[in-house]
Amino acid sequence: MIEGIIVQTLLKGSVYALLALGFALIFGVARVLQLSHTAFYMLGAYGLFIFADAAYLGLNPILAAIISIILTTGIGLAVYKLCIDRVREHHVTVMLITLAVAMVFQQVMLIIFSGQYRSAPSFATGYWEILGVRVAYQNFLVFAGAGIVLLIIWALISRTRLGIAIRATAQDTEIANLMGINVSTILFTVMGVASALAAIAGVLVAPTVVLDPAMLWPPFVMVMAIITLGGLGSVKGSVVGAFIIALVETLVVFLLPAGAFLKGAFALLVMIIVLIFRPEGLFGVVFEEERL
């Protein structure tokens, strides 16, 4: 059982880390909650299904994955330009609009594909047996893919000029602007990176889960808990928080009766406790104007 818990935690944690990282990047730079984030995860997963499934286009899964990620990123950028950019200063409006956007995507997918459960073709079949637990190749792919992407993002943020600009904007938008950084371009880029991350998470996960248009809500709740636990806007915190919340979720599911219903409740309980006793999270910074 312990082996099962470890494997599940690593798998869930790496997907959550990809999702939470994008969310934290947007929050860090623009200080808005972009609630349609997990909708792009759903779009990415469906994209793989559309392009790779034999009944639709039937392309090679790798090619389908790349097309799906690029398309989803494009949709994310369009949403940013059309809906978020012009109301960026009004935080509550952004939350409402992005939530409505998430509902729009969910409904559009529901109309096109109906509520049927579907599954995407996998990249690799077969499994390895480690410590007595059968782990499918696809699950290794999730873990390895997430690890590589996280490394790339880490290098991007800490080693490049763009990364410096992103960090400067996150620290103080106005000063960054005065230093000659084009803030709106940075926001646009970050939105693209974040949508791509969500799409990658969706593409990686798609073969291992059932696809339905409502699949964006369970990770939505978890990502909320993760970014608060890690500290809103903290990149390191979101990755560490992802694995902690994944561990909590797996423990609840494995150890409690009716745990599948309570996993969200426990994750949110963690979030509330963190907000009450340590509102800056594990790695966050205190923002004076956001607390009283």
Partner: protein, 349 residues
């Protein structure tokens, strides 16, 4: 005495087009059952009345004090379950009559509101929105996990009706709605000379630190807002449960919280009459779109995006600004097609 009342009526209601329209609208609502007997339309209007209370109470909490409450369904759902539990007579609950269960259910919702307010005392903006979003979801998980007590997905069913006939139910919901909205409107009236809460809540929204510096105990007033708003949302939730004769997990649903926000934002936030207008337009509209039900939520969501982008002050406020104009000298409200003020004859342009 009577002539003075008539003069006040002429000056404060008839002369202000917004209030005149509201008066005519409510009189028409009282006459509806005399002309329309279809149970379907009455049922729709009863739901609208309940949701008006729900949306106005959200406006009371979040619009006026600026504390963004994204889990307003918590009050609705807690009250629905509490009334259903107190009313059920199958041995698990005490089986009290409906006139006791709805107020007590609403008081239970107030307790829930005060518990929810404890983090709200420390958090603001985005953080508060996250915490309030979490509470109904946690409760929903608890309900699904304890199926033998809460009924799980099926809920608690078989509770009493509000009244014996559809028409009586309509009048009960209408009167309760009118009284609730009137109380909340008076409590938020910032021009009132004897109720201070309105102006204080405005002050908290505009600048909480400044309000504190002026000697206002802002924590007390935020608690007050959550308690009053939670009470009225609880009344709506209890009536909803008794009308449907079932308390189901859908009363805690995240979409219900957002519908309250959507109705309010559509009508006009921070205005009390905004959510009334918004609910009376949007709820019957979306109900009558049932025949294309898969497009209903899509249309709804697109409408919200458009409203937020292009008419952020809301439709009721937009119309009011078209038909009313405030006198620059004496601050009296005038019909917008007058050229001079009706009291001090100052130029209105």
């Amino acid at each position: 005495m009577l002539s003075r009342l008539f003069r006040d009526f002429q000056g404060d209601v008839v002369a202000i087009p917004g209030r005149l329209i509201a008066l005519i609208f409510f009189v028409l609502l009282f006459l509806v059952p005399a002309f329309i007997q279809q149970p379907y339309i009455l049922r729709m209007l009863i739901f609208t009345n309940m949701f008006v209370i729900f949306a106005v109470s959200w406006d009371f909490i979040s619009g006026y004090t600026g504390q963004m409450n994204f889990g307003h369904a918590l009050f609705f759902g807690v009250a629905a379950y509490a009334t259903a539990f107190l009313n059920r007579g199958d041995g698990l609950g005490p089986g009290w009559p409906i006139w006791v269960t709805i107020p007590i259910g609403a008081l239970v919702a107030v307790v829930a509101g005060v518990i929810m307010c404890l983090p709200a005392l420390r958090l603001r903006g985005t953080y508060l929105a996250l915490v309030t979003l979490a509470f109904p979801l946690i409760l929903m998980g608890v309900i699904f996990a304890n199926t033998e007590f809460t009924g799980g997905e099926l809920g608690i069913s078989g509770i009493d009706r509000i009244a014996d006939s559809r028409t009586a139910e309509y009048y009960v919901s209408l009167v309760v709605m009118l009284v609730s909205v009137l109380i909340m409107w008076k409590l938020t009236d910032s021009k009132s000379s004897f109720i201070r809460t309105g102006i204080i809540m405005h002050a908290i929204r505009e600048d909480e630190i400044a309000a504190r510096a002026s000697g206002i105990n802002t924590i007390r007033y935020k608690l007050f807002a959550f308690a009053v708003g939670g009470f009225f949302a609880g009344i709506a939730g209890g009536m909803y449960a008794h009308f449907l004769r079932i308390a189901s997990p859908s009363t805690l649903d995240i979409t219900l919280s957002f519908q309250a926000i959507i109705w309010t934002v559509f009508g006009g936030i921070t205005s009390i009459y905004g959510p009334v207008v918004g609910t009376y337009i949007l709820y019957p509209l979306t109900e009558s779109l049932r025949f294309i039900s898969e497009y209903r939520l899509l249309i709804f969501a697109v409408l919200i995006i458009l409203i937020l982008l292009f008419m952020p002050e809301g439709i009721a406020v937009w119309i009011r600004d078209k038909i009313e104009r405030e006198c620059p000298r004496c601050k009296l409200t005038n019909v917008s097609w007058r050229h001079t003020c009706r009291a001090c004859s100052a130029d209105l342009y």
